[in-house]
């Protein structure tokens, strides 16, 4: 169920990125899409009433294995959030420059490249 909701969020983002004409909306669509994937990824390691996956000398290993959440998706999602931030800032920077050149955010009016 929750996976299906993630997927719907992903499709909303895909719709925004591909069908909208305004650059800001396209950027927002991409961000929504990326967050849907991040959410899906972090949910892969989620457990109800789980505990933080930190080992110290006193931890009971069997209980740890039974209750701890999977740390790998958390590490992955941190990396992918940072990458997403990099792309987002580049996109916004290009959008600002485009606005300076064309005076509009509408992609249908930017058609110097055709064919």
């Amino acid at each position: 169920m929750i996976y299906a909701m993630c997927f719907i969020l992903f499709l909303i983002g895909l719709y925004g990125a591909t069908c909208k004409k305004n650059i800001v909306k396209i950027i927002l669509g991409l961000v929504v899409m990326e967050y849907a994937v991040n959410l899906f990824l972090v949910l892969q390691g989620w457990r109800k009433n789980g505990q933080a996956p930190i080992l110290d000398g006193r931890t009971n290993l069997e209980e740890f294995a039974a209750r701890a959440v999977d740390p790998v998706p958390q590490a992955l999602v941190l990396t992918s959030i940072v990458i997403g931030l990099g792309i987002l800032s580049l996109m916004v920077a290009i959008a600002i420059r485009l606005y300076e050149r064309y005076g509009t955010f509408d992609v249908t009016e930017m058609k110097r490249l055709k064919g």
């Binding site: 895909l14 991409l30 485009l98 064919g115």
Partner: protein
């Protein structure tokens, strides 16, 4: 085996080191960047004929991240680092005249090289995604490097399409991890062999396929390429067309289909049909172009069609032809883009109509363009002839003579569109030719001539690599793919 990590670590470190120390001394960034790419080329040359696995941080597969070196990756490493050395040599004078901010340029350039080397070496799905993103983000920024309106527009278009593709790849990685609880590519292959495909893994595979077809710019996923490649500075166009679409597009497709998921007759049919469509539509669109670099960009799509056609045939001869054409295309297409850069350097334009009689003023540029045009059109004895011949023979041998006919027609149309370049730019004149300006043109500086000459020599001598056929240089490369998932799993996990 420890030296392969430097192929990723060295450019990554230098990408941040050059802007830090290069501010004071003018010539230092040029020297450092060229030294870095030269060292990388030597390192890549040393990987030929070796294979092995390097575990990052000492954590062995399947738990840790591994870098895998085999004949296919070392072929790609050689191509990437050869073209990047040529491009940095060319950049020294080219950037001086046409662009500002060399420090940032070299920084982004080396990040892109690090990303591509990593993509080719990695044996881990998430690591693949990270390196893919490093290479892609650097290339988005480099396409918009000039900050003119059309360059920004191309860059934004490329960025949006590219990041949708990357998000597809990330979703596929998440699905695979959710289903199989592993990220190691060989381990995924092993689990799939044991348990077979289900709906989730099939969906993940389709997402990966779409993501990398977009990165490889095959029709119908090509829309960004004809805008993005011409907008970049010429050495970057040479890198993008010459190696980027191969390293993060075609190579990953080949690796995933042959070594991880396993090739099926349906996939073969998909690849051959995408190959033929890209080959024909790419060349037909190229015929109508009047912008020098845009014409070349459409030819990249068309020539990648040949590669995918050869790969899709799946026979040893077809694989040989496809991979050989991949190598050849990186040589002559980067040469052509560097030539377009030196024409732009002298004339200040990319419009074929405004050029004329350049062969009298720029003999080296004209000669190397002629060599590259003959290579890409498949005229003997240049390298493009041999690889196209192998692909056509492979198609006939596989009983698909129809495909061979298409390949021949594509080649003839390629020749037609390159005779247009020769006619307007070098041995005749366009409509808007200006004799007054023409009198002032001269040959480009020495540092720009060296890459042109080296690459032309390689185009001329490239056919020799075919010596011995499947028993020579190409034998181990083709075996990596023919071994399928089983050999790949064996070499990494030892199962």
């Amino acid at each position: 085996m420890n030296d392969i990590i430097y192929l990723v670590a060295l450019p990554l470190a230098m990408a941040f080191f050059i802007p830090m120390i290069g501010r004071k001394v003018r010539w230092l960034p040029d020297v450092l960047a060229n030294a870095t790419t030269l060292v990388l080329l030597i390192l890549a040359g040393q990987t030929v004929g070796r294979e092995g696995v390097y575990a990052l941080g000492g954590w062995a597969a399947p738990l840790g991240i591994v870098l895998v070196l085999d004949s296919l990756s070392s072929l790609l490493l050689l191509i990437i680092n050869l073209v990047s050395f040529m491009a940095t040599l060319f950049s020294v004078d080219y950037l001086e005249k046409l662009y500002t901010s060399k420090l940032r340029y070299y920084s982004l350039f080396l990040l892109m090289v690090a990303g591509m080397n990593g993509t080719v070496l990695t044996g881990d799905f998430f690591n693949l995604f990270v390196f893919l993103e490093i290479a892609s983000i650097a290339s988005y920024a480099l396409v918009g490097f000039g900050c003119e309106a059309d360059e920004l527009e191309a860059s934004f278009k490329y960025l949006v399409i590219g990041s949708i593709a990357s998000t597809f790849v990330l979703l596929a990685v998440a699905l695979l991890y959710g289903r199989l609880a592993t990220l190691n590519m060989a381990h995924v292959a092993w689990l799939l062999q044991q348990n077979g495909f289900d709906r989730v893994t099939t969906f993940a595979f389709v997402l990966l396929l779409v993501g990398f077809l977009v990165k490889g710019a095959l029709i119908p996923f090509h829309a960004w390429l004809p805008d993005a490649h011409p907008s970049a500075p010429a050495p970057i166009s040479a890198m993008l067309s010459g190696v980027l679409i191969k390293a993060i597009g075609i190579y990953v497709l080949i690796r995933l289909t042959y070594n991880v998921f396993g090739i099926t007759p349906m996939l073969s049919a998909l690849f051959t049909s995408i190959g033929v469509i890209s080959m024909m539509i790419g060349v037909l669109l190229a015929l109508g172009q009047w912008d020098f670099k845009r014409l070349l960009a459409y030819h990249s799509i068309s020539q990648m069609g040949y590669v995918v056609l050869g790969i899709g045939l799946g026979t040893p001869l077809g694989l040989l032809g496809g991979l050989f054409h991949l190598l050849n295309h990186s040589l002559f297409k980067s040469l052509l883009f560097l030539d377009s850069g030196s024409v732009e350097y002298e004339t200040g334009t990319r419009e074929l109509e405004k050029m004329g009689n350049l062969s009298q003023k720029m003999p080296v540029t004209a000669g190397s363009t002629l060599v590259a045009s003959l290579s890409i059109s498949g005229i003997p004895p240049f390298n493009g002839f041999w690889s196209k011949l192998v692909i056509i023979l492979a198609a006939v041998q596989a009983g698909r003579a129809g495909l061979a006919v298409w390949a021949v027609i594509g080649s003839i149309l390629t020749l037609a569109s390159f005779s247009k370049i020769q006619r307007y730019a070098f041995f005749g004149q366009g409509k808007d030719f200006e004799p007054g300006k023409w009198a002032l043109y001269q040959e480009v500086p020495l540092l720009m001539r060296i890459p042109l000459l080296v690459l032309s020599t390689l185009c001329l001598a490239g056919g020799l690599i075919l010596w011995g056929g499947l028993n020579g240089f190409w034998g181990p490369v083709v075996e990596v793919l023919l071994g399928g998932p089983a050999d790949y799993i064996g070499s990494i996990l030892g199962r």
